[in-house]
Amino acid sequence: MPDRPVRVGLLVTCLVDLFRPAVGFAAVRLLEQAGCTVEVPAAQTCCGQPAYNSGDRASAVAIARQVIDAFEPYDYVVVPSGSCGGMLKEHYPLLLAADPALAPRARALAAKTFELIAFLADVMKLERIAARYDGVATYHDACSGLRELGIKAQPRRLLAQVAGLTLTEMATPETCCGFGGTFCVKYPDISDRMVSDKVADIAATGADTLLAGDLGCLLNMAGKLSRRGLATRVRHVAEVLAGMTDAPPIGVAEGR
């Protein structure tokens, strides 16, 4: 690690940018608390997954090149999403493997890219979290973070530091919520069935709060919880760890 403060480029993700900027600011606060300087390159839009997973490889390559150009200068690239983090870390090197110029750059970017919570826990070795949250939370292991990046213990370890918070596990925290990017609108019936099972599992814990590390999954589960009339508060794990829970939970209006 360099002597100067670690310089982090934050890939905020398109969903956080559009739906919930609070997650981005929570990430910035956590990174700054850990001693990093945070920059947000303006030339970012999205990691390219919608194209990549729709089979539009050429567009995915073009977007990947753009991300590499924008984020190459930083010591680390941090992403508050296991899904987008996995895209940079696992898939860019595959996507660009055949391009002699881009392949080494993709591999170098992958090596310094981390999902936010994994970065705080594994790279910055963050031990102490000063936040407080009064509630009983259950944590959903979003698929890409869990299976591509091995994120399982880190969020639980950090959440255990949060004063006032009790964590209670659901029966199947590792089962997909049915979001799957465009899957949820291409196959709404199947997606609904999956998120219904997930919501039943969440409700069975008796937890008043649902946390996860991926906004797509959180929007999906929050949308089903509220449609079912359940008052579970839904938040990105970074909001709780950063102690930034003044804004209403996902899907709840200001002042309600």
Partner: protein, 475 residues
């Protein structure tokens, strides 16, 4: 079997509304194979190392497939058998029919064989006046119901026991209509008694093969019912139906895969019966066939060698990917519309019947990755499904609205200076519309989302615009 994979979406919709099916699937996914697999894996510390070894073994075989298949053929012939090389399903059907005709066969008993389903051998036999009798209990049940299998290991997993009892009463008309059939044991005993006669009457026995062993010319099958043994030892003629990627170099290699197979499939340490057949009956053998034929089926597989899909040929048909797939668990196997369902089917089916016919299958995945994480030969199933999506996209198979939508999004995503203000405007607009409730119960063009769940409303400002303001304040 006529594929209906094009209708996956409609098939899935129907399956989700079928309460009996949902009951059977729910039970299997909650209490079934996945739980038992996890217990079996926990009892075998070297399981992960075995997976890696199995992957390497299968990769080596695929690298030199011609060599191992020719070695296998030589050793089959040395043991008194014959190998029939079949490029297509039609050639394979013809090979089987010729053997059956030459044997004057009227009744053929069958062990479970997915390749048999793939080449539709039962229909071909029936059309030629030969009666195939499935002897695996699950296969027997779906045969009398005229249904295809819905799972590659547990073909009747979609059924409730009441449906089976009903089919038994409708089929076994010579038996007392008042007999009790509410317990699985009673149905098992009934099927057993009926099949016993068929085993003795059969002129030809057809089995699949879990593995072919090059060094000995043997075929290996695993069963839990012993039906395979009776199928291949009692008739005069034994036909092994096997696809080309089933070959392994040695018996020892087969044991490596056997250690993974049952654990991955059903959570058993070993299947009840593991049977190795080598050639014809020799002098001094207590039993065995007078003729031993191996019908080797390619049917599109060799075209995968050297392609991005080659990894799929490692598959040992354990069904762990089905058992752990939330999409399979929601809709069952029939929705996939052809022989192979679940994640392995989503990769294999487009290879065998064409991506034009089966493009929906690799689309029907959230890429949750659970299939790959349990695959005993480490097939990167999500990655291979994505490759099929690439082929489908290149062939312009997705609906025009989807392609245009994606195209418009890509156009913006590649232009950050244009994207940024538009995202900020969208956040403001949607945020303002959704401010009252904090969520949308309905939204134009978003019915796919909002029909069944709310869409949380954006907070109102994009992160990038707020960040730019913060930077300006700090400067």
């Amino acid at each position: 079997m006529q594929p209906s994979s094009r209708d996956f979406k409609a098939n899935a919709h129907r399956a989700l509304g079928d309460a009996t099916l949902q009951g059977a699937l729910g039970f299997m996914m909650r209490e079934g194979f996945a739980v038992r697999r996890a217990e079996a894996v926990a009892r075998l510390p070297e399981f992960e190392a075995l997976r890696e070894a199995a992957k390497r073994l299968k990769d080596e075989v695929l690298q030199h497939l011609d060599f191992y298949l020719e070695t296998f053929e030589r050793n089959v012939e040395r043991a008194g058998g014959a190998v029939h090389w079949c490029r297509t399903a039609a050639e394979a059907r013809e090979a089987v029919l010729t053997i059956c005709r030459d044997a004057g066969a009227r009744i053929v008993t069958k062990g479970k064989s997915m390749v048999g389903e793939e080449i539709a051998i039962n229909e071909a036999l029936e059309a030629n006046g030969i009666a195939p009798v499935e002897t695996d209990l699950g296969e027997y049940i779906i045969q009398i119901r005229h249904e295809p299998p819905s799972h590659i290991v547990a073909p009747a997993v979609h059924l409730a026991k009441e449906q089976v009892a009903e089919s038994f009463r409708a089929t076994h008309r010579a038996l007392d209509p008042a007999r009790p059939l509410d317990q699985p044991r009673q149905m098992l005993d009934e099927a057993r008694a009926i099949l016993r006669e068929k085993f003795l009457d059969a002129d030809v026995g057809i089995t699949g093969a879990n593995f072919l062993v090059a060094e000995t010319g043997s075929s290996i099958i695993v069963t839990n019912e012993g039906n395979g043994d009776l199928t291949q030892t009692l008739p005069k003629v034994h036909i092994v139906l096997a696809s080309i990627e089933k070959v392994v170099p040695t018996l020892e290699d087969a044991t490596l895969l056997l250690r993974l197979l049952a654990r991955s499939a059903t959570g058993q340490e070993f299947s009840t019966y593991t049977t190795i057949s080598t050639g014809t009956r020799r002098d001094g053998d207590p039993d065995g066939p007078a003729a031993y034929h191996v019908v080797l089926v390619d049917n599109g597989r060799s075209a995968l060698l050297g392609s991005v899909f080659q990894d799929m040929l490692r598959c040992i048909r354990c069904a762990a990917c089905l058992n752990h797939c939330p999409v399979y668990g929601a809709v069952g196997g029939h929705a996939y519309g052809w022989v192979y369902p679940g994640p392995m089917g989503a990769v294999l089916t487009p290879a065998l019947i064409g991506v034009g016919e089966a493009a929906s299958l690799p689309e029907a995945s959230t890429f949750c990755g659970r299939c790959e994480s349990v695959c005993p030969v480490k097939i990167p199933l999500p990655r291979l499904m994505r490759h099929w999506r690439e082929r489908a996209f290149a062939a312009r198979l997705p609906p025009a609205t989807q392609r245009w939508g994606l195209g418009a999004w890509v156009f913006l995503a590649r232009r950050p200076a244009l994207y940024r203000p538009l995202a900020a405007a969208a956040a403001r607009l949607l945020g303002a519309c959704g401010r009252g409730r904090g969520r949308f119960r309905a939204l134009p063009l978003a019915g796919g989302w909002t029909d069944k769940r709310d869409l949380p409303a954006p907070a109102g400002r994009s992160f990038m615009s707020l960040w730019a303001e913060r930077q300006k304040r700090r400067a």
